[in-house]
């Protein structure tokens, strides 16, 4: 009987605290997502172009060396495009343990509930 009145108030307080926390987290992630999006935008376009440059470069070099005019260029153009798409896929997904674009594994596990922080390492 006596401990009945404090219980609802505590629960209410807890609820309020949680709501405030959620609100704060929400605003925080929104600003983080904005910064993250900008970093993203700056990275992605370049990835495709860079892979294409390398592919075409290798193709031209092999053609010049072996005298097989268009064939290696065509082959490596396609391979370069594939590599570019794969790079973008990795940046966006942050997965697929491949060359470079794996999401950085945290050596010390931080609070994993922060979605913004993790992907910020990507861009």
């Amino acid at each position: 009987m006596k401990d009945d009145p404090p219980l609802p108030s505590l629960a209410k307080l807890d609820e309020k605290l949680r709501a405030a926390e959620a609100k704060r987290r929400k605003t925080k992630t929104r600003s983080e997502i904005q910064g993250q999006g900008l970093g993203f935008a700056l990275r992605i376009g370049v990835e495709i172009v860079a892979a294409l440059i390398v592919g075409v470069g290798i193709g031209l070099l092999l053609d010049w060396w072996l005298g097989t005019k268009p064939w290696f260029l065509l082959l490596f153009f396609v391979l370069g495009a594939a590599a570019g798409f794969m790079n973008v896929f990795r940046v966006v997904g942050g997965l697929g343990g491949q060359v470079g674009y794996r999401r950085a594994e945290k050596p010390k596990d931080e609070a994993s509930g922060e979605p913004g922080k993790d992907s910020r390492t990507d861009g």
């Binding site: 700056l42 370049v46 860079a50 892979a51 370069g80 590599a83 794969m86 790079n87 343990g97 950085a104």
Partner: protein, 248 residues
């Protein structure tokens, strides 16, 4: 920056000018000290002054300059421990130097009449190549021939290897290019855009207030980009370093 009349080409700001030269100018093998070299030296001197003067007092309760110096140190140290872990601490000097050099280069370019050395691909490509070659050598020294398994996607069927390995190799080789092109293109595009829009101010007369407001806003954005690009360069270097140290 706000040249009235748009008489100047927006690309003029990127022109390399020789300040003084050892040997005939334009001759192969001549050493010329250009405006690009001057801003690089200026960036180096400013970074050193910033850190040395900031930490001179070494007070327990830091003053303004010391706070800034400590902030930049802790920022890069946090970056490394987040992405590479404790093993990355040995490479702190390299990453800190790269970060500060690029950051100060970008910010120096924001001063009117100055020169942005990071807007030249040869500068950024040299930096990226340094990172790329260093990281590759590190990985080979650390893991030996095991390094080459890096190019084989784990869990892929052997039938797919002839297709996947070239793609992985291209992907790996594209790293220095994407690293350098990103920095160079951002700085080049931003500064060109600023100059083009600033050229409209004089041409439009009273309505020049519109491009003027835009230039003010873009200047703020450019400063943000200056920080962001230095940050991106540093964090990608960290990610590559992490790969080299830990492979799969």
């Amino acid at each position: 920056m706000a040249e009235a009349g748009g008489m100047h080409s927006p690309l003029e700001q990127f022109e390399i000018k020789s300040l003084f030269a050892a040997g005939e100018h334009g001759e192969v093998g001549a050493l010329t000290f250009t405006n690009s070299s001057l801003t690089m030296v200026a960036a180096m001197v400013l970074v050193s002054a910033f850190l040395i003067l900031g930490m001179r007092r070494g007070a327990l309760v830091p003053g303004r300059m010391q706070s800034l110096a400590e902030l930049s140190y802790e920022f890069v140290a946090g970056l490394i421990s987040d992405t590479v872990g404790s093993q990355g601490r040995r490479y702190f000097p390299l990453i800190f130097t790269l970060f500060m050099f690029i950051l100060f280069g970008n910010l120096l370019g924001m001063l009117p009449y100055s020169f942005t050395f990071t807007s030249h691909i040869i500068v950024t490509f040299a930096l990226a190549l340094l990172v790329f070659i260093g990281v590759t050598i590190l990985a080979i020294v650390k893991h030996g021939l095991h390094f080459f398994t890096f190019f084989v996607p784990p869990g892929a069927p052997i039938a797919m290897w002839p297709l996947l390995i070239p793609i992985e190799v291209i992907s790996y080789l594209s790293r220095p290019i994407s690293l350098s092109v990103r920095l160079f293109a951002n700085m080049l595009a931003g500064h060109t855009l600023l100059k083009v829009i600033a050229g409209f101010i004089g041409l439009l007369g009273v309505f020049g207030i519109l491009p003027f407001a835009l230039v003010v806003a873009l200047t703020g954005l450019e400063i943000l980009i200056a920080f962001l690009q230095a940050y991106v360069f540093a964090i990608l270097t960290c990610l590559y370093l992490n790969d080299a140290l830990h492979l799969h």
